[in-house]
Assembly symmetry: C2
Homo-oligomer: 359 residues x 2
């Protein structure tokens, strides 16, 4: 078998080897059923057990209160950008958006199709290299939306933004969900495309308070109403069964790692190794402000595009894959999600040290 390389992809991203090995075993027969995981009816006992276990593990990991639904949807965060205002923003109403990157901006563009948008804060003045400390909210926003981690810009909210009491806080947590413990009760809704920290692309996890589900528009296409999925345990139509299976196995792996507090400690250690080196380096520097640094996506540059290119050429040849930064930031980006192994970060830092020494 081909040996695996260090894959710093921003998403789809590295998955736990143990999960992939388990999935491999179940492709031709899920357990003793004689039917592969991809081939089981979504309404049969075997898949229902898979679905129920996935939901139970998600609830357990994040201590999700009973007044929240856990939904398995399709269409990625991008479909949520539209579904949220379609459901919760009426013409004439205003929703508040905290804008910290390209994905926040896409969410704003969608919301404007359905109502008014107030930008409560933005860090666009410095190319999104920081998380704003202050926000100016409108008087009665329909909801407040923020992006907890900004994949492209390497920034992350250290904690939930301070919002007025009883605000309906909605979070796009696509790129940092379950990287640390989360107090779900602070949110009305959390959503995440699975392909960064939870598993494969093609599945969107939505954690949503039941009163918000009930408040959603009733005049939309059935598939675009949260209640349709909540009332049917995400089985209104055929769900992405393999994605649900994989997210369940990733959550079982997270639990085996010690749960979200233990994962946070590992993530802090992993990111710390890289940031500590970057802070000490005279060649490389991180692009995000110190207090806004992401645990998941570490963005850095040399300050010289040619040298960035030379580094990328050499580091890629050495087997470190997908380190090229997004074109809007340039330089390098190391995406080190939950499943990224600590030894891969150590190896990268060693390579960078050598590269710097030779420069």
């Amino acid at each position: 078998m081909t040996s695996r390389v260090y894959n710093f992809s921003a998403g789809p991203a590295v998955m736990p080897v143990e999960v992939l090995e388990e999935a491999r075993e179940n492709l031709l027969s899920l357990g003793e059923t004689g039917i592969g995981i991809l081939e089981h009816s979504h309404r049969g006992k075997a898949f229902m057990a898979v679905r129920d276990e996935a939901e139970a593990l998600i609830r357990e990991l994040a201590s999700i209160p009973d007044n929240y639904d856990v939904l398995f949807l399709q269409g990625g965060a991008s479909l949520q950008f539209g579904m949220i205002p379609m459901n919760f923003l009426s013409e004439g109403q205003t929703a508040d958006y905290l804008v910290t990157g390209a994905w926040s901006k896409k969410a704003v563009t969608e919301a404007k199709l359905f109502g008014n948008v107030h930008i409560a804060s933005t860090s666009e003045d410095r190319n999104f290299c920081y998380i704003p400390k202050q926000a100016q909210f409108s008087s009665y926003p329909a909801y407040i939306h923020f992006t907890s981690n900004n994949t492209i810009f390497g920034t992350q909210y250290a904690a939930e933004p301070d919002v007025p009491e009883d605000s309906i806080l909605i979070c796009d947590a696509s790129s940092d969900i379950f990287c640390r413990p989360i107090d779900v009760s602070k949110y009305a809704m959390i959503y995440a495309g699975a392909q960064k920290n939870l598993g494969p692309s093609g599945l969107t996890l939505v954690i949503i308070r039941k009163d918000l589900v009930e408040a959603g528009s009733e005049s939309l296409s059935a598939m675009l109403q949260y209640r349709t999925h909540a009332e049917n345990q995400s089985l209104y139509n055929t769900p992405p069964t393999f994605g649900i299976y994989l997210v369940g196995r990733v959550c079982a792996w997270l639990k085996a790692q010690g749960g979200l507090a233990a994962i946070e400690a590992k993530n802090r250690a992993k990111a710390g190794v890289l940031y500590d080196y970057l802070d000490s380096s005279e060649l490389f520097r991180p692009t995000a402000d110190h207090d806004s640094r992401s645990l998941m996506n570490v963005t850095f540059v040399t300050g010289d595009a040619d040298r960035d290119a030379e580094f990328l050429k050499q580091v890629t040849a050495a087997g470190f894959q997908n380190l090229k930064g997004h074109r809007s930031v340039g330089g390098m980006r190391a995406s080190i999600y939950n499943a990224f192994p600590a030894e891969g970060v150590d190896a990268l830092v060693n390579f960078m040290r050598d590269f710097e020494a030779k420069s």
Copy 2:
């Protein structure tokens, strides 16, 4: 390894063993890349090659003309039920629907949210056990929609319905796509959830004429406009990468089987074995009218619910899985999609003969 059983599931359904074995090999490393198929960036070279090959194979298999786009979407046929009228049916306009089962009816319900619906034909008078021969179309329908195969009721259009020249014909082919050659030029749009004849759940194949893409509404959420996906090679946001990979491999398998004409011959032979026995049986009878029988889903009953239940109990115990019919028809349903092995049909018929002999 556990031996595989005969899986007559209506969907998700049996997949070719060769495809599953190949997928298994690529879970931890796609070819020599050192990165599993689930973990590759959707914008990287390795996945782009996978995507491009899948589209090329689909185009080759169905001889799709160049003025059609091939899109890989999410949300199943159910999201298409809404997206079609959202895009192509304005308030005051009328769309014509041919109603041949539960899925057609769901499509009608969605269309009514956005415009007028004219039921051009329906077989509801006899619980959808036949395909109507005639249809009465409205004067200037925005489009004409039909369901080529009815999973629940075991019926299938033998050929495209006769429609007025220059009609915009849209087909939900979820449960029989690529079961036989198809003249794409007769359609403006063909769509199919992949989980019956193409691969896994969580991916929707859309084959759509470019002028229809351009005619779609421009005021919708970006994800709900076909042009968004057409303009971005289905990579506007992260697509279901594993699903695209699998559909590509299933199409490669179809090609290796000899293409759609060869598959049709195999499907006719498989279904023929079962229908011939049913026609000769004094215990079982098919529920669909002779000229409306599906090659994909063979529905049958004994006429006695207790005997149906006893048969299902025994046949399931013998290792034939998921033969229970949908509750709205009762009895039994054998879903025998492209990937269902001929020897499984032979084995089922042998079991049924023995059961009948002992009755």
